[in-house]
Structures are given as structure tokens and as C-alpha cells.
Symmetry: none
Subunit: 219 residues, 4 copies
DNA sequence: CATGAATGAGAGTTCATTCAT
DNA sequence: GATGAATGAACTCTCATTCAT
């Protein structure tokens, strides 16, 4: 049996030594730098402009180097979306959760909505990979993980809804309807189509939430 | 005085004869065939795959020939979208408008929803051109016209809402909220995200409409 | 022996009848209309913009129709050049030929120069077809004829030079040198390169002509 | 402290090592090969024939590869012209500058003339980019630089003229007139039009220069 | 790990020209 | 003579990706 000069083996499991650990940490850091470059490229130039070349240029790499860290462009975008969902979750978590249940629904759902309303590129990102049109090069695992992150961002609002005494199934119905309403409004803002109806999205969301909480209280 | 074998003249105006009319009709027909090819290409291959080359290939033409009928790729897509909106409007118009106001809202909004639910590629089409992301080569006129077609498809539902005695402004609010809800649900279906919440979109729409009409009746 | 219904034959030569003559005249007229369209297209849009399509469009024809009158695009341009040379000759002929020989040289050479100086597109035209680079689709005859037209435009100046008592050979030398000088200056104007030397072409031509006539008088 | 195997650092500045230098040199060499291919393509096929495809083919590349070395077709042509002007300047510099001022004018102007007379494709090149007809994609800087190179090639002749005691303005007039004469003669040779006048260009230039120097000496 | 070079496929578009009707 | 349709070849340029070094 051969022993790698940089790794030991315990009970058949490879045990990374210090050098390997450091290398790993460095690799993670460089991956992060590439993602930063990808994000700024995407945010400034949009989907069309953020080519692998451009991302590499901004990261200070040559195009080929990116492929040491990401297998494809899709994977870069998936990583970008993952990071976006992290920021979304952080934003929702930071929203105040004092007051009664109705206040909390408004606060948490509003935070979700505002995040995308204020950061339209994050919305683009979500649409890009969540769209069924294109054949996504994502693994099932990665897809499931991104789904879970998205669902998590709605959980605080779902929890607040649950406080109205809804059973699990009903809570799920409500959170889905709310999610659909928000997605619809965001899309209308995003595409500029809301002007057709001369309405403003934030008021419409508030109105929806008011009716929702009122209805739940009436039960 | 000589008479052209192919055209007559009345009061100085050229009057198209049978031959010209037939030629025109043929040209329209060929335009239609190209559009058919474009639609199937787009529906099967999506945005990326439906190149002018591919469209030409399917229509049995060389790439250059397409440009006798459409000035650019954007124009092909615009024509496709226009035709899609015509079908949408026809579908909505065909929905029964008997029963009371609540029935009519359900019928007309349901027809709108079902059209896109049953024809997801038409939804893609709508998103393609209605998306702010990419620089559309559409004229303002064309854009406005497409907008108007979209709005028209919602008008029957809006009319039914008006029968509840809503003033114009309130009706506009309601139709916008309804539109957002439908768009959101369609997107969730379309991207497969609705499974996250283990719900089914049609029920959710019916629920939304029930609450809406109930609320309006309570006023 | 068959007799054409529209032509008679005398001594083996076909004799056009009245109908054929009229058809010919019409064809010539239509050829002229196409040339007018070609000229305005070329003058407004330059070489790149004046496509056969564009010329046909301006002439009120479809592209294919042009080929009933001209065998190729080169031939259209050759005809355009022929017409341009006719205008050049007319312009030179119209220049005053009073005064002494020196005055006449100045007048006639000046007219030649001014024509091209004032009509840069005619210069383009000349360069286009007189250039050795591209394979011209011109017949030898046509080429020779265009050459003769160009030479004719210089003849008035050559005649004036001859009055100084030059022999034929010397006159030829002088007119060639003068032609070269004019062509050179026109090119410098045309390409904007004369600014490199901060000079103005017309003064330079006058200076050249003054030195020339002075030198000839000194003989 | 780790030392990269391929780069050293002095005072924080990256110092290119042997490997980087060699890579650079190779890149330059490949750029040169592409330029060679472009030149032969242009010389054999003229402007129309020397497409990027053809240039790539001759250089043994795929079309896309060219764009690693030149940003556009215009840039290829600009580089070609720049290199042509370098050769022109070298040729003029190599011309003997012994003898008196008149000899030197003849030598230096003759070298300029002969360069283009012997290399007609270089003349084409000059005309291509110096022509006002087509919209050149050159930056102002590049254009100015090429202008300067052209002017520099005339400077030796201008210097020789100055020795006749001309003031700056007069020297400028003379060099411009000389330049125009040369350009005109070159064009006549190039287009074959000089045969119209049955003259030979070199003799005409010599004659021009003789008259010029004689006139200056007479002052 | 990173480079630099190159691939290969493909994009949209334009054009002179041909030809059956 | 003229049309209208279509061809076919060409154009410049972009991109994700690969791979020897």
C-alpha cells in the first residue's frame, strides 16, 4: 500500500494533513473571488454580458482557470444563486419579529418581497436557473438544495401564519398563495408591465397581506 | 388606350387585380408557414435553439429567404407573440359568460389561466418579449400594441368584476392583483417550483377567485 | 424563309420596324431611369450602400428587373461612370476659352479640377472602376471608350498648351504631368490628407499652372 | 516565503521572468504570422477577397483565433498599413544622402516614389485606409499615428528642400506639391491609365524634380 | 493550479444573382 | 419586360469549452 506524501489514512478514510487543509482553504477562497467577479459582472452586464471571459477577466484569471473551480457556466450561476438565496435568508431573518402574528407576517413577507424588489438582478438570477426552458446542468442534489434555501426564506412568514391556529395543510396553502402573489407582483414590476394597470406593487402587497390576516382572524 | 392585362385603373387609383390578390395571399400564407416553423422550433428547442437557421430549415428555406418576410429575428418573435395573444384572446372570448357576475369572473379568469397553463410555451413566449432583461428590437408602437392585446385578454374578467359595483379605480386594483396571482401561479407551475409547496395551482386559483367574489359580495 | 411579324429584312440586314423602334426607345428611357436611381443611390449612400436592391427600389423596380438592362452591377457602375465623364466634358467645354493661351490653360484645367473637387462622388466613381485591384467585368471596348472620354476632357487644356509652340510629344508630357498633379491634389483633398501639410489644394493648382505657363513662355 | 517558479518580485513590482518573456515573444511572432497571411491574402486577392476567414485559413487558424490577436478586421488592416509605412520609412532612410541638396531631393523623393511604384499593393493598402469613402473603425490616435508615419517618410526630402534656403512655409508648399505629383503619378501607373498618355512615370518624376531644383536654385 | 492558445460551432445578417411564372 | 421568390455563399464576430504546457 502506498502512502501519499501529503495525506494519511485512518480506517480506510483519507485524513487530510495540514498542507491539504491549507490548499483546500485557499481553493475555497479563490472560488469566492471568482464568484465575486461573476456577481459584479452579472449585476453590471446582465446575463448576456456576463460571459466566462468577462468573469475570468474580472477575477484576474484566464478563462481556462475558472474550470478548475466550476465545471461549467451553469455551475457558476448555480453558485451565484445559492449565494443570493443566502443573502435573501439573511435579509428575512433581519426583519423585526416583534408585535403580533399579523405584524410578523407583514414584516417577514415584506422583507422577502423587498429583497427582490430592491435587487432586481437577484430576481433575474432566480428566474434564470428556475426556468424550465433551458436544460440546466444542475445535479438533483444541487437543485434540491437551492429549493430548500428558497423554502427556508418563506419559513418565517409561514411560522407567523401558523400562529393564527392554522393546521399544517392550510398553512401550506396560504404560504403558497402568498408566494405566488409576490412572485407575480415582482414579475410585473420587473418587466415594467405593472404600468399597464397603473398600480404600484408595494401597495398591492400590503393590501393582500391585510386581507389575508383579516380573513385569518375572522376564522 | 392600352389596358394592362394584370391591373385596372379606377379614378387614377391602381386597383389590384386577381393576380395581385392571389400573390398577396400566397405571400401571407408563406409568412404563416415560416411562423409555424418558428413556433415549433421555439416550442421544441426553446429560445437558444430557435435560431434563424433552424427556423429556415424547418420552413424549407435558406436562411436569407426569411428576411423577405421578417426584417429581423426580433420581428419573428414579435409576430409569434402577437399570434399567441390572438389565440389567448380567442380562448378567453370563447369561455362561457352566462351565470352571475361571480360565475363570469371565474369563467373568464379561468380561461386566461388555463390557456397558459395548458400551453406553457406560450408563457415562455410572453416572458421572452415581456422581459426587461434583453434589449428588444421592438418599436414602441409594436410594444404598445402587444401590451394592448394582453390587457384586452383581461378585460372580460375586469368587466365581470365591474358588475359588483366597483368604481373604476377599485376594479383596476382587483384586476391587477388577480393578474399578479395568476402570473405567479403560472410561473410556479412552469418552473416546477409548486412542488416545493405540494400544492396544485388550479385549486389555488379557484380558492383565490372564491375569496375575491365573496369579499366583493360582502361589501 | 420566315418573316418576323415585327421586322423586315433588306439585303440580309434586319430592318427594325416602327414597333421595334418604339420598344427600343422605351428601353433606353427605362435604362435612363435606372441610371438616375443608381446615381442618387450612389451619391447619397456611397459605394457600400448602393446595392442592386437599393437601386431597384429607387427606380421603382424589383431587383430582377435591373438585369434586363444591365448584365451586372459592374455594368451599372460603368454606365454611371460614362455619364459622369459626359458631365465632366460638358463642364470643361463650358469653361471660357477667351484670353491668351495661358488663360485658356488655366480655364480649362481649372474646370477639370473643379468638377471633381466640387463633386467628390464623381471622383469615387472614377476611382472605383479605374482601379486595377478588383476584377472589372468590363469589356475592352467599354474600357477603351471610357478612357477616350477621360482623355477628351483634358484635350481643351492640351490644345491650349499646344499654342505655346510645343511639339506633340512635349505637349503630351506636359498634359500628363498636369493630369498627375491634379489627380494627386484631388486625392489629397478627398482623403482629407491635405491637412497633414496644412495647404489648400486650389492655390496649389494655381501655383502649378503659373509655373507651367511661365516656364513655357520662357522657352 | 515561497518563490514562484515563474516570477520574481522586486519592490512589489512583478518582474517578468524568462518564461513570460518567451511567451510574449511567441505571441508577437504569431501575430506576425497572421499579419503575413493577411498581407499575402490582401496582395493576392485584394480587399474583397481578404476576408477574416481567408486570412485565418492562410495563417492555419480558425477564424475565431484571429480575434485573440486583433480586435477587428479594421485593426488587422491598420496593423498592415503601419507595417507598410515602416518599410516605406526604412526604404527612404536607406536611400543615399550624399551629394548636394538637389541630389538629396532626388534620392529621397525617388525612394519614396520607387517604394510604391515597386510595391503596388502597399499603395492599395495606403489607399484603403486613407480613403474617406468607407467608415474606418480606427481610433483617432491610431489614425494620427499613421498620418505621422506617412509624413515622416517625406521628411528627408523636405529637409533637403530646406537646404535651398526656403522658409518653413515655402518648404511646406513645395513638399505638398511634390507629394501630390508623386501620388498622381503612382495612381496613373497603378490604374494603367498612364498608357492613355503614352508616358512613363519615372521619367515624369525626374523631370518634375529637375524643374523643381532648378527653379529653387534660380531664386 | 493556471496559462495561453485554439477550437468549432454557430450566431444574425446581407447581397448579387437567377429563374419560373 | 417584369415580378417575386429564392438561392447560396459569404460576411464579421462571439462564445463555452478544451488541453498541452
Amino acid at each position: 500500500m502506498e502512502t501519499s506524501p501529503t495525506a494519511a489514512t485512518i480506517a480506510g478514510e483519507r485524513v487530510p494533513d495540514a498542507r491539504a487543509l491549507r490548499a483546500d482553504a485557499l481553493a475555497q477562497a479563490r472560488r469566492g473571488l471568482i464568484l465575486d467577479a461573476a456577481r459584479t459582472a452579472f449585476f453590471e452586464l446582465g446575463l448576456e454580458g456576463a460571459s466566462m471571459r468577462e468573469i475570468a477577466r474580472r477575477a484576474g484569471y484566464t478563462p481556462g482557470a475558472i474550470y478548475s473551480y466550476f465545471a461549467s457556466k451553469e455551475e457558476v450561476y448555480a453558485a451565484l444563486l445559492g449565494e443570493s438565496l443566502l443573502r435573501l435568508n439573511a435579509h428575512v431573518a433581519a426583519a423585526p419579529d416583534d408585535g403580533n402574528a399579523a405584524d410578523r407576517v407583514r414584516s417577514k413577507a415584506g422583507a422577502f418581497f423587498d429583497f427582490y424588489s430592491d435587487n432586481p438582478r437577484d430576481l433575474d438570477l432566480g428566474f434564470y436557473l428556475f426556468q424550465g426552458v433551458r436544460p440546466l446542468g444542475l445535479t438533483r442534489d444541487l437543485d434540491a438544495q437551492l429549493n430548500a434555501q428558497l423554502r427556508a426564506a418563506l419559513q418565517p412568514a409561514a411560522d407567523a401564519l401558523a400562529e393564527f391556529g392554522l393546521d399544517a395543510a392550510s398553512a401550506e396553502v396560504e404560504i403558497t398563495a402568498l408566494f405566488a402573489q409576490m412572485v407575480g407582483l415582482l414579475l410585473l414590476i420587473h418587466t415594467g408591465r405593472i404600468r399597464i394597470f397603473r398600480q404600484q406593487a408595494p401597495q398591492l402587497l400590503r393590501r393582500y397581506l391585510d386581507q389575508l390576516t383579516e380573513r385569518l382572524q375572522r376564522r
